[in-house]
Amino acid sequence: MAWPPSPDELIVVDAPEPGGAGGLYRAFGETLRGLKTTFARVVEGPTTIQYPEEKVPVYPRFRGRHRLHRFEDTGLEKCVGCSLCAAACPADCIRVVAAENTPEHRVSAGERYAAVYEINLSRCIFCGYCEVACPFDAITMGHDYEMSDYNRSDLIFTKEMLLQEPFERTPLRAEGE
């Protein structure tokens, strides 16, 4: 591709001078033509959605509120407290304190488990890097986007809250829909 561009690679925009006889015509003619656009929208019908009664379903890749996962068969937590998610987080909003599993007290499938696992959702930028970083699929981004609360301290989600099955609040679209 050569520079400078040839004239046929350019579109020159232009418009008539306002006012005069043309202006008189345009004040009626062009306004009517514009109204065609406006009235055609009436036929199209409204596109608004009555949130919160109606909710837009999210796509499978949508990154909403995080979830921690357990193994379905054993009920053990998948998280082994390796802190990789905390290392990946650009907003520094994950806090993990790991502890050793003992035979009497086994929480996770690995050697260690997360004794404390907190995400400060008021800092989170929902980039999903924690999900990308976790090598054990222990944390994933859920589909919940309704997270507002009255207190900032209520937005610090603990491990118990993140492990809970969330309320089905947000509809999900199937892939390809």
Binding site: P4, A15, P16, P18, G34, Y59, R61, A88
Partner: protein, 424 residues
Amino acid sequence: MSTELDRPTGAPNAYREQEASIDLSARMHPIPAEAPEQELLTLNMGPHHPATHGVLRLLVTLEGEVVRDLKPIIGYVHTGIEKTAEDKSYWKAIPVMERMDYLAYYFNAMAYCGAVETLLDLEVPKRAQYLRVIHLELNRIMSHLVWLGTSALDLGAISMFWYCFRDREKILDLFEYSSGQRMHTRYIQVGGVIDDLPAGFDAKLRTFLDDMPTRVDQYLDLLNRNEIALQRLRNVCPLDEATLLSLGVTGPLLRAAGNPWDLRKAMPYSSYEDFEFAIPVGRKGDNYDRFAVRCAEMKESVRIIRQALDGLPEGPWITEDRKVALPPRHELATSMEALIHHFKLVTEGYRVPPGEVYYPIEGPRGEYAVFIRSDGSSKPARVHMRDPSFVNLQATAPMTKDAYIADLIATLAMLDPVLGGIDR
């Protein structure tokens, strides 16, 4: 008023001295000596004013209804992103850098990732380049739609606002489909893009591409030859090419003045040389040309996306260089080596050879460019964004000199500043 800025060197009071040298008067330029007919009035417009398109404060000196001088004051949404990025590894800085210009997140990410790739001397797979182009151009249309909606609102055409946001919604939906978030998608990564297109994206995008040119025509039906719009835009606040160039203005503002400078053609990046498209230019550099150039650009973007979608090559969507890109997920469970790579990349990140790079791309507002200085570690030593809104804002004063205050609003709208990008 002193025009020379003395830069004190090294003295203990250097900062104070420099601070004292800043001119705090309300005027940018001295007002000519001939006595104004009316008393001059200095007025604050903004920072909280819907017509300033963000948190921008304009100190205007008015003579009656005529703007005699104007001084933009910025910094109300300063976020310190450039400094924050110095504290993150290259990978972790991507979502942070994206948040500068909140209407051009793909461009922010592209400029940043392009700069890192240049330093790393990294080859980006062809499919990734095409996927980037698709999303960049969608982002351009999206940004122009927000501009058109809000600018038309400033001119009094309220319905345009709803139409534009309806179509913008379709684009945000596509963004959510492919990358999981409507804004700040962190889709573009160093070495490629984070994921391939999901199933069904193609069809949805094609429906949008079929609709969009008709939509633009509908907008143009409403505004293009409308006598009120013409009266408000044609021959209003023009600025010639030479002044624009001397101010460093780029993008649609410069093209409206007749200079076809477009980095996509002048210095192609990310395979833009593969696509056929035209550059809309204006003749007069007035507000109408600024408006019409952007509208025509939306149609050209649709053309580019269609070509990129039709010609989308097969292959990987992120580089296979394991020193930079995270290993694919399925390998984590089976390969120890992949797991070690993964740990290393996430905790420390990759090291980037020392050097400096300036990587410019053509954004919806002009030249977005990221400057990075690397000292060889895994964190950038300095990151700087050349944001076009910031540079273009300087042109407000020469454009609106001796114009009516109503035209100042229209001109500011046609300038399309994004304050998140200006203040960073």
